[in-house]
């Protein structure tokens, strides 16, 4: 390409007439990356030393940060421990103070709990007898009654017919008080031309 002097005035008025007048290298120059460090003035040993110093400094910062985090964690845990210790001590003192006033009430309540288990209607032989008498039909005669606290009871008796006994057992087992009543056995026996059926019913 031919070099040509262009004055400022001419440059303003310059218009390329032909392709030959345009320099492509100037346009391509914009597309290339600017070369850096092409020429190094520092010795490689010094460069490595510098990098080592930089790495050491970064490691040092990292270490200090880590130590700082650990110290903060430790301090937080210690503060929490002291807080819990103090709160527990406060509560303990409050419990001791309350215990002085309410010990008597606790003793009474314990007595009541014990008394209640003996005074429950279910824990009464008298109630069992009363309930049994309520459900017992005329055709049934009870001859033996065995009752034990918290263990249920059983009774023996006789009737003239087995269906009477079965109906009685059904009535008992369907009632709230004698739930689970079971006929343990029925046995026929004859007394002077009359026939009776002995039975035993268990309630648990």
């Amino acid at each position: 390409m031919r070099a040509q002097y262009v004055s400022t005035k001419d440059y303003d008025n310059f218009s390329p007439g032909r392709e030959k007048d345009v320099s492509m290298s100037a346009v391509l120059g914009f597309g290339y990356q600017v070369a850096k460090d092409d020429i190094k003035f520092i010795l490689p040993e010094l460069q490595i030393k510098k990098e080592m110093q930089s790495n050491a400094r970064q490691l040092m910062i990292l270490g200090v940060l880590l130590v700082y985090i650990l110290i903060m964690l430790g301090a937080t845990a210690l503060v929490r421990l002291v807080q819990k210790q103090s709160y527990a001590a406060n509560l303990k003192a409050k419990v001791e103070k309350l215990a002085e006033n309410t010990q008597e009430l606790e003793d009474i309540t314990n007595k009541l709990k014990v008394a209640k288990q003996y005074k429950e209607p279910k824990a009464s032989a008298l109630t069992s007898l009363y309930e049994l008498a309520r459900f017992c039909p005329e055709g049934i005669t009870i001859t033996n009654f065995n009752w034990e606290w918290q263990k249920g009871f059983s009774f023996r008796g006789y009737a003239q017919q087995i269906p009477d006994i079965l109906a009685f057992t059904n009535t008992l087992s369907n009632s709230e008080y004698f739930k689970g009543a079971q006929n343990r056995y029925t046995r026929r026996r004859k007394v002077e031309d009359k026939e009776f059926v002995d039975f035993e019913i268990v309630v648990k």
Binding site: A99, E106, V114, A115, A125
Partner: protein, 176 residues
């Protein structure tokens, strides 16, 4: 001094770091959190006790009213023998009141139960009509001392008289 290359330095730094963390967890954070756990348990227990005591305080009037009704239950005093004797005399008194014919009556031992109470057992054998036995049972259950029928066996003495044989264990509860 041994000179380490870069990889060895990184490795030893990592091992050192892990070691430091392990030591910190074992000897610093571990014991601290363990102790915090112990205090947490203590706090929970204390809170439960406080809630219980608050409930007692809340129901103070009611508890004291009920206590008056069961004051007689604490009437068994003295040594074990004294208490057993009191229970026996109470049972005998109820039996006589109900016109129960006592054929045998003897102590059947004592036992400690939950709530710091002691029960004294009495075995009683006798005979009576059904009505008298019911009176006796009612007398036991409504006695001023805490008496309770623990075991009872009723059976016909014979088929004609209507007299029943009674074999029972009555227990008296002592709170002191």
């Amino acid at each position: 001094m041994i000179k380490l290359n870069n990889k060895e330095k990184i490795l030893s730094a990592a091992v050192g770091l892990i070691l430091v963390i392990f030591l910190l967890i074992t000897f610093v954070f571990g014991p601290i959190y363990e102790k915090i756990g112990v205090y947490d348990q203590e706090i929970e227990q204390a809170k439960m006790i406080i809630r219980k005591y608050m409930a007692y305080e809340h129901n103070r009037a009611e508890i004291l009213t009920v206590q008056k009704r069961i004051e007689g239950y604490s009437s068994l005093k003295g040594s074990d023998e004294d208490k057993a004797a009191i229970v026996m005399s109470k049972v005998e008194a109820e039996a006589r009141k109900a016109k129960l014919q006592i054929s045998d009556m003897s102590p059947a031992g004592s036992a400690k139960i939950k709530g710091g109470a002691t029960v004294y057992r009495m075995q009683i054998r006798g005979e009576a009509q059904m009505k008298n036995i019911l009176d006796f049972m009612s007398g036991i259950e409504n006695a001023s001392t805490l008496l309770q029928i623990e075991k009872i066996a009723l059976s016909n003495k014979d088929e004609t008289s209507g007299v029943l044989k009674l074999d029972a264990i009555v227990l008296g509860v002592s709170f002191s």
